[in-house]
């Protein structure tokens, strides 16, 4: 579904991605793991079209989207779940959810979202930034499901969340996967990653250092945790 070929990216003079190539098949959940500064977020931003200063190609369902602006990539089916959760202070919870246009064949309805997340329903007319961190994360995920996005790009959706909320995020991603949604996520929590994902890419200094499946991550867990410095 998503194919990244020889993607390089720079911040000014500093090169953050070096000829990264990877693939995500339709219906897969794939994680990017790696130390801080390994280029994981830059990779997601490049796929979304939010990073200028890059070389290489990104194709979605065989269509080259490398030159498309971000808004057209979103309309092509990419769902953006940013690391800061992207809650708008000047929009209510409902407005946050309904801001993106519907783009996919199987969008979640507002009723379904509110049934799944009663906390969002209770605060539906309040500014979204009044939600707790966990509720803002649910809002960010629910927003792209309501779009009907087919490929979610999630930047550390479990960061800073309590174990209970981490489990909720996992449940939501698994449910999305059951409905055929594809996910590429940046994740530091290896337990969470092996619980929701099919495959993993280890990024190191802007390169793909290893491609692993769940059993490989579990068997190398101690080594990986030491490497990631967690």
């Amino acid at each position: 579904m998503l194919r990244i070929e020889n993607l390089s990216a720079w911040y000014g003079e500093a090169q953050v991605l070096r000829e990264v190539s990877l693939e995500v098949a339709a219906g897969e959940v794939v994680t990017l793991v790696g130390r801080n500064g390994a280029g994981k977020s830059t990779l997601l931003r490049s796929v979304m079209g939010l990073h200028s200063g890059q070389r290489g190609t990104v194709t979605l369902d065989g269509r080259d989207i490398t030159r498309l602006p971000a808004y057209q990539r979103a309309r092509a089916g990419l769902g953006w779940v940013p690391d800061d959760r992207g809650a708008y202070a000047t929009l209510t919870v409902t407005e946050n959810l309904t801001l993106p246009p519907r783009v996919g064949p199987d969008p979640w309805s507002l009723d379904r979202i509110y049934a799944a997340f009663p906390a969002l329903h209770t605060r539906r007319d309040s500014p979204a930034t009044l939600l707790s961190g966990g509720e803002q994360q649910m809002l960010a995920l629910a927003r792209v499901l309501r779009m009907g996005a087919r490929l979610l790009l999630c930047d550390e959706p479990t960061e800073g969340l309590s174990p209970l909320l981490v489990r909720q995020v996992g449940d939501l991603l698994r449910e999305a996967k059951r409905h055929g949604v594809t996910v590429l996520l940046v994740e530091q929590n290896l337990h969470f990653a092996t619980g929701v994902a099919d495959r993993h890419y280890l990024l190191a200094e802007g390169r793909v250092a290893a491609a692993m499946d769940n059993s490989e991550v579990r068997s190398r867990e101690r080594e990986l945790l030491a490497y990631l410095g967690i």
């Binding site: 979304m48 992207g86 407005e95 246009p101």
Partner: protein
């Protein structure tokens, strides 16, 4: 007592002009991050346009009230497409200098054709006379300005706060890049929003024509205070700009009435208020610190 009410009413009428101009500046700044120094010049063009339409073509006030905002709004949109949009990618200083230079050009173009003396513009017949409020009489035209402006501000607030267009404009104002990532072509909204801000300035100009001296520098005199109003309200804050507009109108009217023995104080009171507000709240009364991009 009736003197105080009279001063208060005049302050609100003066504040209505500040509110209309500051509102336009605020929507433009919010969406484009451009401080439009030419805003006063478009206000002047609105008033002058109404004058020229009446004097040379016999077009009445009510028609000018529709024609001038539309014409200037379109001119603003063309300007945004042709120049401002291109300069917006560069240092903010470029649009700063461009709109400032444009102000001088527009002022001198009008000056070279019509001179610097003020031109009279008659109050429309329907709005001449006074309204009796019991304790005091007010000129009907001023009552009209106040009512019309309040209605317009409420309408803008409703559109921005309660409609789909408003949701998109608020989102694009708060986080332009994030909003693009949600499938919204933010660039498409920039031109009409700029045109709308300019149209409001033109509208304020037409409203000012029967009340204020119509001359090429009328915008330059007013815009300095409007910038203070925008800063007090909070850059880019819609509600803040309107509230601060009326507030500063009041402060100015009271200052002129009760501090008339100290002209230096009454003329600078707006800037004293601005300095005090900035010391207390650096982002303005209703402004928020910039969110990270």
């Amino acid at each position: 007592m009736s003197g105080f009410l009279q001063n208060t009413f005049n302050g609100l009428v003066g504040g209505a002009f500040y509110a209309l101009l500051a509102l336009g500046l605020a929507v433009i700044f919010g969406m484009l991050r451009v401080v439009n120094f030419a805003h006063g010049a478009f206000y002047m063009l609105g008033a002058f346009g109404a004058y020229v339409l009446l004097a040379e073509a016999g077009v009445p006030f009510w028609a000018a009230l529709v024609i001038m905002p539309l014409a200037l709004g379109l001119l603003g949109m063309a300007l945004e497409r042709a120049v401002i949009h291109r300069l917006a990618r560069l240092d903010p200083l470029y649009n700063f200098l461009f709109t400032f230079g444009l102000t001088l050009i527009l002022q001198d173009l009008v000056k070279s054709r019509y001179g610097v003396q003020s031109s009279p513009y008659a109050t429309p017949a329907e709005l001449s006379g006074t309204v009796d409020f019991g304790l005091f009489d007010f000129p009907t035209y001023r009552v009209f300005i106040l009512g019309f402006t309040v209605l317009l501000c409420v309408a803008v607030w409703w559109v921005l706060g309660r409609t789909r267009i408003g949701t998109v404009v608020r989102a694009a104002t708060e986080r332009p890049e994030l909003t693009r990532a949600f499938g919204i072509d933010v660039g498409r909204w920039v031109t009409p929003v700029f045109g709308f801000g300019i149209a409001l300035a033109g509208l304020a100009g037409v409203l000012a024509a029967p009340m204020r001296a119509v001359n090429p520098l009328m915008g330059a005199d007013l815009i300095i205070v409007v910038f203070a109003v925008v800063v007090i309200g909070g850059l880019g804050s819609i509600f803040g700009s309107v509230a601060a507009g009326f507030g500063i109108g009041l402060v100015q009217a009271w200052g002129e009435a009760y501090l008339s023995d100290f002209p230096i104080v009454s003329q600078t009171v707006v800037f004293v208020v601005m300095a005090a507000v900035l010391l207390w709240r650096p982002a303005g009364l209703f402004g928020r610190e910039e969110a990270p991009a």
